[in-house]
């Protein structure tokens, strides 16, 4: 276990420098703050459809194998 935590710290330490390049962390934080309640909003949005259509939607989705 100690080895794993050490590795986690290393990957996190690498972030500040790299994050400037990717904008990953800052961008994600800004997006998700407003985006998270989207989960509840989406569930509210689809609730009535799910009540009536879920079973048929799932059961009628039948594929043949691919590639």
């Amino acid at each position: 276990m100690p080895q794993e935590f050490q590795q986690t710290n290393r990957t996190q330490q690498e972030q500040p420098q790299d994050a400037q390049e990717t904008g990953v962390s800052a961008q994600a934080a800004a997006q998700s703050q407003e985006g998270f309640d989207a989960l509840d909003a989406v569930l509210d949005d689809i609730e009535s459809t799910l009540e009536t259509n879920a079973e048929e939607y799932v059961n009628s989705f039948v594929q043949k194998g691919g590639e």
Partner: protein, 559 residues
């Protein structure tokens, strides 16, 4: 490309599920033909796919499968005569593969470009499905989903392709990639409701595809699917092979898709250069060799704790997370030996794409470590991580729904399966994923404008540019196209007959029955980089017809 980089020739193939809600016993094969047919234009409809370069029975391990011993669905170079193939405006290929419409992205040279061209395919296919529906079934539209399983036993593929050096022993490729493909599921999985190929056991798992994998290595893709696919069909020159990857999920999110492409590419680079830097590759591969990789594939996918230990062949055990850490350290060590390091100890990466992929890989390991140490309630609040880890965001939505219906709700409730399916719907009006993306819950790496550009225009860095340019400028002249060849008809005087046999382009290399009438000119563009825009745009601009252009390029290539 000799630099230490995620850049190499790569591309994706996506098979879409096709269905027609409200129609009992819809025919997936016919619907696939409808969709692909609608992707064609009157000007390009006649262009055939040239199968002569396909060689599906050639095995990367150095043997050939007897064609008579191959299952008919492995003989992809012997297509039905009515198969529809379309060269997309971006140089990609849209066609019918078994019972699915498929989009093969054009050849690209870095993971971010490959991502853009991969997801541009969703737009092209959605447009084709809508066009097909408008003609054939306006009241019952044809619907496409980007996923890999129907929960009733059927599975279809999402493939990655990487051009790599042939002089690397394939046994090393198989060993390294097995370790990677088993363990990358923790950040790459798109999430799936149901355990088992027919969802026999209620539950949720990381990966769409894991339960359909039953062999360690093999040539086949439609039955007894292997972790390592050995189809050896390079579509390139002799010093390269194409690593054909069939274990991946049909991701909808940008981050896991770029990571799959970028991390696999940099691992292949490190493998190509490990031995020349003195790295002890055998020790690495030995430490990552699992006792049962197929079982491990399933174990990792089924383990939402991310803590499951996998027995190693040499004794002891290891987690998927630690395997990824080990693989990342391998890349850093080969890179440091090759490039040297900066004052912070970071290898002196030579391009922005590589720096970004390496940073994102580190972020993915930090994200999965945080997820591992969080309970369900804490996981429901992990906003940033869920914007990058697709299986987590899907799980959050499903778990919230499950608790809302009632805490005792089983994972086999059809409402959960319906949300999983809706995640994959291409039509934004039907897709819960599209709603979350629109709401900003998903971290994006390409914007809508870039996707529109990638749907309509070819990449400039590969031969896809020439393929698209010739089809765009001289559609009537083009007889057949493939990844590595273009064939055009010589201009004819008015009134001359068309002597082209109907079978042209359907003859296979393996059977050596290709026909090449005297009025056709064929260009071999096996080198994927030689016919990129900067090398051929002058010739294209100056060309009066396709045959003259291909003849000029063939002559220039020989010089």
């Amino acid at each position: 490309m000799v630099r230490m980089s995620v850049k190499r020739v790569m591309g994706t193939e996506t098979e879409y599920a096709v269905s027609q809600p409200g129609v009992a016993y819809y025919q997936p094969v016919q619907l696939s033909f409808d969709v692909v047919g609608a992707a064609a234009t009157p000007a390009t409809r006649h262009i055939r796919w040239d199968y002569r370069q396909e060689d599906p029975v050639n095995d990367a391990r150095g043997t050939r499968l007897d064609r008579a011993a191959a299952r008919p669905d492995m003989l992809t170079d012997a297509p039905q005569l009515n198969i529809t193939n379309v060269i997309a405006p971006n140089g990609g290929r849209i066609y019918v593969d078994h019972a699915h419409p498929e989009y093969s992205a054009p050849e690209t040279t870095d993971p971010f470009q490959a991502l853009a061209y991969d997801h541009a395919g969703d737009r092209l296919m959605l447009a084709a499905a809508r066009a097909a529906s408008a003609v054939a079934a306006p009241a019952r539209p044809i619907v496409l989903h980007r996923n890999n399983v129907d929960g009733k036993g059927a599975s279809w593929g999402t493939h990655e392709n990487y051009m790599m050096r042939r002089d690397v022993p394939f046994a090393d490729v198989a060993a390294l990639m097995t370790a990677h493909f088993v363990s990358r599921q923790i950040w790459a999985g798109s999430g799936r409701v149901g355990i088992g190929e027919k969802s026999e056991t209620p539950g949720y798992q990381l990966s769409q595809r894991a339960d359909t994998i039953h062999a360690k290595i093999g040539l086949q893709t439609t039955f007894d699917r292997p972790i390592i696919n050995t189809r050896d069909e390079s579509h390139s020159t002799g010093e390269y092979r194409r690593l054909h990857v069939i274990v991946g999920d049909a991701n909808r999110m940008d981050v896991p898709q770029v990571l799959k492409l970028g991390v696999t590419s940099i691992l292949l680079w490190a493998l190509e250069h490990a031995r020349e830097t003195g790295y002890d590759l055998d020790a690495l591969l030995g430490s990552l060799q699992l006792a049962d990789p197929v079982e491990a594939m399933h174990t990792v996918s089924h383990d939402l704790t991310l803590a499951a230990t996998l027995p190693r062949e040499t004794g002891g055990e290891i987690t998927a997370w630690l395997m990824q850490v080990t693989l990342r350290r391998f890349v850093y060590e080969v890179a440091a030996a090759t490039l040297g390091t900066d004052t912070a100890g970071e290898p002196a990466w030579e391009d922005r794409e590589t720096r970004n992929v390496m940073a994102m890989w580190g972020q993915a390991l930090a994200d999965t470590a945080a997820i591992r140490h969080a309970g369900d309630d804490a996981r429901l609040t992990m906003r940033a991580e869920a914007g990058r880890v697709e299986w987590l965001l899907k799980w959050q939505l499903l778990e919230k729904l499950r608790r809302k219906i009632g805490p005792d709700t089983s994972w086999d409730d059809p409402r959960l399966a319906a949300v999983d399916l809706s995640w994959a719907a291409l039509d934004p009006g039907r897709s819960v994923f599209a709603k979350l993306e629109k709401a900003g819950s998903v971290e994006r790496l390409v914007d809508d404008a870039a996707l529109a550009t990638a749907a309509a225009n070819p990449p400039e860095t590969t031969r896809a540019w020439l393929r698209a340019a010739v089809v765009r400028a001289f559609p009537a002249d083009v007889v057949a196209a493939s990844w590595s060849h273009l064939t055009a008809r010589m201009p004819r005087a008015d009134g001359a007959g068309d002597a082209l046999p109907d079978t042209y382009g359907n003859a296979s290399a393996a059977e050596a029955t290709s026909v090449r009438p005297g009025d056709l000119v064929s260009l071999d563009m096996s080198d994927p980089l030689a016919f990129r825009k900067e090398n051929v745009e002058t010739a294209v601009a100056e060309a009066a017809d396709a045959a003259g252009l291909l003849a000029r390029l063939a002559t220039e290539q020989r010089r």
